[in-house]
Amino acid sequence: MNGIEARALEKHFGPVRALQGIDLSIEAGSLVRVAGANGAGKTTLLRILAGLERPTRGTVGLGGRDPFGRKAASVRGRIGFLGPTTALYGELTLRENLRFISSLHGLSEERTPQLLAALSLSEVGDREVRTLSQGFRRRAGLARALLTEPAWLFLDEPWNGLDRAAGEQLTHQLRAGREAGRTTLVASHAEPTGPGGVPWDRVLELESGRLRETHR
């Protein structure tokens, strides 16, 4: 059961209460949208669930394991995260970046070319990431997050900066991920438009650090 649980999650930045007690349980393989205005705490929630930032209080469970616990290494390897930046090294080419991530996770050689093709990034593969356009850079960031075939995928405003074609590919990837049993959490303040829309299993409404679930 590698769903996502959180119990009484709180996160304080000094006097600022970014999260004020979040409890949630998400079944494995579901595609969940985290909605909410700017400053509602979407990014903080995602970063904590993805094991990037410790909560001030409360616990996180990915497949029942705490990403901040002693034996969290095995869990961490199967987490994918895409934030506002691509998290890639500007001086290196896209292929070099992905090869670096692959060697961190011991992935096989074909994974990189396969993913570049899937996201139609092959032709820019050998250009330094800092020379790529905003749209290509966003797609490159998505490629990095998907590279390790994560069991839990966290995307923070992934549609920002994507053109229509790239948006469609993202929606396609989300659908494919859902079939493959991946648990995905996507934070986006606006409902992403585009043909067919996104088959959300659930939508969580976040408002100033608290959860208000809207519909199933």
Partner: protein, 223 residues
């Protein structure tokens, strides 16, 4: 064991970024030359002085030069938001620290060799009297500096005054390395036997701080 694989991947990546951007190492080499020349001119050295007061000054020159490189250890991660790559690794993050420290070590060794060469040219220092001891001091000194420098630059990478912070944090802690290394090289140049006490203390120092770095880094990245 995939820990060392991760460390190696981080090391290779850092060296590739260094080669590709070429400025970090270049700056350090120019800066080192500048400092050595400055010392030589301002202190109106003669060959005789070189062995006496000047040699420890070389270590101070090397320390200041290393600051340039160490301060930028995590620049890419901080600016490009690439910390995620180093946090979400399927191993203990201490290996990431060792990879980073390794990349810094190689850069420091290059700068160290360069400084030694400058010493030969400008200060007539004769390293051949005890090359083994000089090498030992160089390697152990560079390890101590890269270990502490990497850990402290991770600490100060996101802080506001990080240009000030790194030297303030580093200098008092690195003092023993300078003393031990300067002692070993001093004895080596003077042709006397190896300063075992300093060599032993320096090796122990490196080991202790490598261990603290390895253990501490894990709870540092996802604070």
């Amino acid at each position: 064991m995939n820990g060392p694989r991760v460390a190696l991947a981080v090391l290779r990546k850092d060296l590739l970024v260094d080669l590709r951007s070429r400025d970090r190492l270049g700056h350090m080499l120019i800066f080192a030359a500048l400092v050595v020349v400055l010392i030589s001119i301002v202190l109106r050295t003669s060959a005789a002085d070189a062995r006496g007061a000047l040699l420890p000054l070389l270590w101070i020159a090397f320390l200041f030069t290393s600051l340039l490189g160490l301060a930028r250890s995590f620049q890419a991660e901080t600016e490009d938001g690439a910390w995620t790559n180093l946090i979400l690794v399927p191993v203990d993050r201490g290996w990431v620290f060792l990879g980073k420290a390794g990349a810094n070590l190689l850069a420091l060794l290059v700068v160290e060799a360069w400084t030694a060469l400058l010493a030969v040219i400008f200060l007539d220092v004769d390293w051949t009297r005890a090359p083994g001891a000089a090498l030992l001091a160089g390697v152990l000194g560079a390890i101590g500096l890269s270990t502490l420098g990497t850990l402290l630059s991770a600490l100060s990478a996101s802080a506001r005054f990080r240009e000030f912070l790194l030297p303030i944090l580093l200098f008092p802690l690195i003092l023993p390395v300078l003393v031990f290394a300067a002692d070993i090289t001093g004895e080596a140049i003077a042709g006397r036997a190896l300063a075992e006490r300093s060599a032993g203390a320096l090796a122990l120092y490196d080991w202790v701080f490598l261990l603290i770095g390895y253990l501490g880094f894990d709870s540092l990245v996802e604070a």
